[in-house]
């Protein structure tokens, strides 16, 4: 067990394995062969060695002079679920919002440090936030389908809102809805308004909307906190299935959820990363007393 959240060794491996040159020429595996990974060969992903998709390196973020996050460093392993847990106000949401540069849309926001996606620094100036957000999708706390658009148009929103047309719109819609486990429920009412779905369906529609542009990474900011237990169970099941094709970072205040869905967990407390490691280890043998206090319910 590593007591330190981000050992320098890991960091070196991170930049070495997914360095800039490698990343630029590496093919994006599931472009153009959408079904291969999830349906034709469901066991294949597990046999592949998993690289490091994102590296968060000495990230400090906040508003004006107030730092919400302080010097956080951790890796995000490719095609796994990484959970971010911690009490309210510890900076969980800020952390994931830094990964697709949504943090900076708030006036007065500030960020320092590096966040590497496939070895490239997303704050380095050579990556447009628009391009970044297509590769790093996001699902929010409250389901937020566009009420003025139909179910179908909601799924295609990521294309239309960036002024692009998918090569095969019907195929993209069906594929995204199937991956979000919503196809069977809405296939007969694709023309219905996006606001007509139930809470759980609306959240899966938002997941489909994020998946439709084929992102490499999916950020989920407490995606189940507005849902009932049954809808929550469906989303968790879905996260499990998606993890074979997408890298997922999920923020949750529900520790059982983190334990159920994730392979790695980061525990944040008061803006600092207290502990990062394999979920099973972190929950059974936490190395920091604060982690232990939190997961045993002594605060937060």
């Amino acid at each position: 067990m590593n007591p330190m959240p981000m050992p320098t060794e890991t960091r070196r491996i991170a930049t070495g394995a997914a360095g800039r040159d490698v990343a630029l020429v590496a093919p994006r595996p599931h472009l153009g062969m959408p079904f291969q990974r999830d349906e034709d060969s469901p066991t294949a992903p597990d046999k592949e060695p998993r690289g490091i998709k994102m590296v968060i390196d000495s990230l400090t973020a906040g508003y004006g002079s107030h730092a919400v996050l302080r010097n956080v460093s951790l890796p995000v392993i490719e095609r796994t679920v990484t959970a971010v847990i911690g009490p309210s106000g510890c900076g969980k949401s800020t952390l994931v919002r830094c990964l697709n540069r949504m943090h900076e849309i708030i006036p007065n926001a500030c960020v320092s440090g590096r966040v590497l996606l496939d070895g490239r620094d997303i704050y380095g100036g050579h990556l447009d936030p628009i391009e970044l957000r297509r590769r790093v999708g996001m699902v929010f706390q409250k389901p937020n389908p566009f009420p003025t658009m139909t179910v179908r148009d909601n799924v295609l929103a990521g294309w239309r809102l960036t002024g692009t047309r998918p090569p095969n719109a019907d195929g993209v819609v069906e594929d995204a809805l199937r991956r979000a486990a919503l196809w069977d429920e809405v296939k007969d009412r694709l023309k219905a308004p996006g606001a007509s779905l139930s809470g759980g369906q609306a959240q899966r529609l938002c997941i489909a909307r994020a998946l439709a542009v084929r992102p490499d990474v999916l950020l989920m900011d407490e995606p189940c906190s507005a849902l009932d237990p049954i809808a929550t169970a469906r989303i968790e099941e879905l996260i499990h299935e998606l993890a074979s094709s997408v890298t997922i970072v999920i923020v949750t205040h529900n520790m059982q959820q983190a334990a159920r869905v994730s392979e790695n967990t980061a525990f944040l407390y008061m803006g600092e990363l207290i502990e990062f490691g394999a979920t099973a280890g972190l929950f059974t043998r936490p190395s920091d007393p604060r982690t232990e206090d939190y997961i045993t319910g002594r605060f937060g």
Partner: protein, 290 residues
């Protein structure tokens, strides 16, 4: 067990009695104020309907004025002229006002936004005759010609603050979660505005535009030395054009009984037009909060 304790209450004291009287007085005073607020509108509409209805018929709405001395004739040219002027005003005010309102709602530049907001509020308080003079010096004097264009411009200046401020208000009502969802999909800000925010606020924006339309359609002063009025049916932007408020004014101050009756009928048409606009705008804005 329930005890009827009415007998235990102390007798009504003089203080309590005076409070009850005060309460009753205030209640009646408030009721009276409410009625006094309603009274002018009811009285105006009542008078206009009673005096305007006799002269109102299809012929009045469609035909042109007859020469002095002949009876009959109508205000068809002025109804068209008013629509022409108000739509022309919108043509100028909407492309400026809606983006301005969107900008105000975005809070991207708080200092500039505050200044613009203040200017819009001051502009809506500028006496309309001053707006008319402004349009006169800007668009009538250089061309040495009264024109529909100058009238439409004057109305646009009057409509502009209404459009900008209502747009700002309804755009602010669109939840920020919508904007965030769109931005997180990689949408540039202008697309977020055009494809997500404005469609959600569409009804409210339309209501603001209709309210501005009826405000502009009812204005007289800015048209007196810009559009000027006309006895003929004109559609050229460079020609003087008739408008209902101008016809109303000219007929009302004329010495002919026949024209007086027509002025009342014109008042009825104008009031209906403006009132309908306001009602449509109100209904549209209250419906959208559903």
């Amino acid at each position: 067990m329930i005890v009827n304790n009415v007998g235990l209450l102390p007798p009504i004291s003089p203080r309590l009695r005076s409070r009850r009287i005060a309460d009753r007085v205030f209640r009646w005073a408030v009721m009276a104020s409410v009625l006094l607020v309603l009274l002018p509108l009811v009285a105006i509409m009542g008078t206009v309907i009673v005096r305007g209805a006799p002269a109102l018929d299809w012929n009045f709405l469609t035909s042109l004025p007859k020469p002095v001395g002949e009876t009959g004739g109508g205000v068809g040219h002025a109804i068209l002229g008013t629509l022409f002027l108000a739509l022309g005003g919108l043509l100028i005010a909407v492309p400026v006002g809606v983006p301005a309102g969107v900008f105000l709602a975005s809070d991207r530049m708080p200092r500039l936004g505050g200044t613009v907001r203040l200017c819009a509020d001051v502009l809506s308080g500028v006496p309309s005759i001053v707006v008319g003079m402004f349009a006169y010096t800007l668009l009538v004097l250089p061309f040495k010609q009264f024109s529909a264009m100058a009238g439409a411009f004057a109305l646009a200046v009057i409509m502009l603050p209404t459009i900008a401020r209502t747009t700002e208000e309804v755009v602010r009502l669109v939840p920020s979660t919508m904007t965030e969802a769109a931005l997180a999909l990689g949408a540039p800000r202008w697309r977020v505005m055009m494809q997500v925010v404005l469609p959600s606020a569409g009804k409210g924006v339309a209501a603001g535009v209709i309210a501005a339309f009826s405000r502009g359609a009812g204005e007289t002063a800015p048209l007196m030395f810009t559009a000027f009025g006309s006895q003929f049916l004109t559609t050229s932007p460079m020609q003087p054009i008739a408008a209902l408020p101008l016809v109303l004014f000219n007929y009302a101050v004329s010495p002919y009984d026949d024209w007086h009756a027509q002025a009342w009928a014109a008042a009825l048409v104008l009031a209906t037009l403006v009132l309908a606009g306001n009602v449509i705008a109100k209904v549209a804005t209250t419906r959208r909060s559903r």
